[in-house]
Structures are given as structure tokens and as C-alpha cells.
Subunit: 283 residues, 2 copies
Amino acid sequence: MRVLAFLDGSLADSGAAHLRVDDLGLLRGDGVFETILVADKKPRELRPHLDRLARSAAMLDLPAPDLAGFERAARAVIDGWQGGREIALKLVYTRGVDGDPAGTPTAFALGVEVDAKVLRAREDGVSVVTLERGFGPDVAEHAPWLLLGSKSISYAVNMAALREAARRGAQDVIFTATDGSVLEGPTSTVILAKDRTLYTPPSTIGILPGTTQYALFRGAEKAGWNVKVEPLAATDLARGDGVFLASSVRLVTRVHTLDGVALPDSTAVHQELAAIYESEYSG
Amino acid sequence: MRVLAFLDGSLADSGAAHLRVDDLGLLRGDGVFETILVADKKPRELRPHLDRLARSAAMLDLPAPDLAGFERAARAVIDGWQGGREIALKLVYTRGVDGDPAGTPTAFALGVEVDAKVLRAREDGVSVVTLERGFGPDVAEHAPWLLLGSKSISYAVNMAALREAARRGAQDVIFTATDGSVLEGPTSTVILAKDRTLYTPPSTIGILPGTTQYALFRGAEKAGWNVKVEPLAATDLARGDGVFLASSVRLVTRVHTLDGVALPDSTAVHQELAAIYESEYSG
């Protein structure tokens, strides 16, 4: 099932047409989005997601989004949802219709079922390939027009990378910079566990700050882990106790195979981290 | 005015909603496009544009587009047009609705008026800044998932680069690779004229092969110019007889200022090249 809501809180038929063909979101991929997990009617990390939407919008010089309106739309989707206990809730915000003198953005919230592949990956883990992203780790800071670290809807490269992974018999991707450092997944944050420390690369190298990674690190610190945000080399990944891809809907997914080579079994670490993450939302 | 047509040749109200919010063209910038100039009811370089649409679609693993249908839609837009003598005719082709088991792409042709800024730029030329694209010139060939050289609708970076140019008081951009070589404009091909030779970089460095550049080179050869497709350094640009940005709707636009420095006057060369280009479509 799918539930669509606009920023005034009204629900609409998601199977009907609502967009003009000259929306710049479609013609130019000119917009930003967020995907939020809703479990048992409760959106997770709603405020960090809204803040990140506003940050992405600012990177694209879009008008500041009406966050109260997005919250209202999110609530309307949740209240109108008749499906399973989880919702993948998308917030979408585009520059609106090309040539509109008022410059009115297009904005909506859309709830969809969690994909069956994601549910399987949460249980079984994933096989991942590293793919070059083509950039150096220092380009983001001095070339903001590359929009690195924004969550724009111009996601064609991310989707192409996932198809390349499938061609290689894998389910997901870790992008690397030209110097071999770890960037991010096409739709996830990379986390390395080693000696009771969690590592993730800093967003300054041109990656999206991860809301799920942040929540996990917060919980892990409380549970006695060390957490470090620092550059990682791709060659480090095979030398730890576990590699994980974190994102709102996939949660903390275990990487069992990297570039065709099985990683050391991280099932126990995964169970511990998954429990830590869930404990952030219980009680 | 705007005229919208679908691939069966039917016209539709471009001001009405025709797309679902869960079109992957919007959610993921997952699609390809072309923009074609129509002058006096005649589309220019229609076949090369259709071929490039098919090539871009293949790079994104989209189903092969129905080119006869796109031609039919283009014809319907042209026949239905009541505006000025020129039309900017967009062909758009997306992966369609997320989760659609039939995988039916979204496809349409949309005719719009030529932008007033473009008309001015054709006459007055443009001030251009060079901006880093962040890639090396060799990455395209071994990392096809970066989709370099495809005309995908994931154009947010191209649009951000144009806004950066505006912030610097310029109207357009020439992207450079990490080694300082010339790539392309966000929506154009770069051409250098020097000693009766026209130069443009090869598409193998990760840029879109230009239909207008190709037509100009074809005409220029007939008119006695030499043409060369070879790598150019950004530092070469100031040392020739003229720098031009070519694209379907802007035609061959003169660059009068590069990174804030006036280039040698290329008005006469521009007049000659503009006439050569137009002669490809007269008679």
C-alpha cells in the first residue's frame, strides 16, 4: 500500500497523477529528499531527518522547506496507513514547475511498504562490492557545486552503482574515493566495528551524515563502545570485527562478503549492534 | 506557451498533472532526456538526438526507447505549436513508476519557448567561469556506473554549477577535470577556434557527444576549416581565436570573458561559425 499526503495534511490518491511534466524535480533531478522509518506509528529520528532535509535544500539554494508542513504530512501518512507495522516514509521537495514566477516548490510525503529485499538483507546480511566514486576525498569542501553530502534526488549514479553490484552478484556497494578511502554506500553509511570501537568516515569528505549511524553511535556509547568519526581505508574493512551498512529502512545491515571474499563472521557483533540500535526506540 | 505530447501522438494539457509522485524520474532522477531545437517547424539533428537518447537509456539500463513513438510525439508538438518560430523540444524518458511490475517507462515530448536569457546570450555572448568537476579524465571509461557521458535527468550538479557561476557574476560554466583539462559546460559542448582549426575534447573523457558541435564541425569542414577532436587544457582556451559553447537551443554561443578576464574579440569568428552552422539547415 502507498499513502500520499501534502503539507497541508491532506491525503491524496497515490495512484493518481499529481505532478506536471515540467516539474524541475523530474526535468532536472532538482530537489531533495529524506527516507524515514516509521515503526508502530512512530517515526524514527524525525527531527534529524527534517534538519537534514533543510540542510540539503540549502545546498541546492532551494527555499527553506516548511518543516512544520512536512511534519504534518508525515503525521497524515502515518495516521492514514493501513499496511504493516513499518512504513518507509519519503519526504520529497523539488524546485517546482519550470518557469513558475512564484517559484513554489513541490512538496509531499509518501509512505510505502518496506521492500522485501531490504527485509531479507536485515536478516541475511549482504554481499558488497567496492566501486570508485571518481572523486578525491578533499573535493567536497572546495567545490560545493558538486553537491556532495546533499541528499538530492539526482540519484541516477547511485542506482547505476546498485545495478553494477547486481551484475557482479552482489546486493550493495561501498563507494571509494580516488585515494582508496571509504566514502559511503549509494543509500547507506559505512560502519566498521573493531576492538569494541565503531568507526565511520567524516561527512567532510563529501558524504551524507547518516541519521541511523548517528543514532547507533549514540546508543553504542551508552553501551560502553568507543565511537570514532575518522577516515577509513577500504583495506581496513577486511581487518575488523564487522562491516555494516546503516540506513533508516535497512537499519544496521551486516556485510558478509566484500568484493567476493567472505569477511570474518560478524553475526554476534551484528546482533549486539542491532539490539543497541533498537534500544534507542524502546520504552 | 507549452505543448505536451505522448508517444501515441496525442496532445495533452501541459498545465495539468500527468505524473504520479512515485515516478522514479522524480524520486531518483532515474531517466534520460534530450533537448532539440525546432526552427520553422523543422527539428534540427532529430536523428542524432534520438540516437543519443537511446545511447543514454542503454547506459542507464533502461528499456530501449520507442524512437518512432518519440518521433511521433515530437511531430505532434510541432504541429500543435502556436508560439514563436523556435521551439525548445524536450524528450523525456524515465524508468516509470516505482515498483510497477510491467516496468513501463514514462515518456513524453514537451515543447517550450526558447528562454529570453538564451536569446540574449546568442547575441551578446556570455561570461564563463571554469569550475572543477572533481573527476579525472580517465575515470569514465573504467567506471561506467558514474554515467559520465549519459544525458540523465540527474542534473542537480549542472544546475548548481550554473548558480555558482551567477554568484560569480557569470552566465555559464566550463567544467574542468582534475588534471586541468577541459570537459564540457553543464548544458553545452566547449569549442576552441585557433588558426582556422576547431577543437573539442573527445567524449571518451566522460562528456556528452555534442549534436550541435558535430553539426558545426561537419559544416566547418565543408567551409575549409580543420576540425580536431582531442584533449584541451583549460589554459589553452585564452590562447586561441575564440571559445564557444555549443548546444541545441543556444546554438554556437561566444564566450567573451573567462574567469573574469576578457578574451580576445572573437566577434568575426563567431559570425562566421554561426553562419556555417545555419547553412546546415538552409535550402
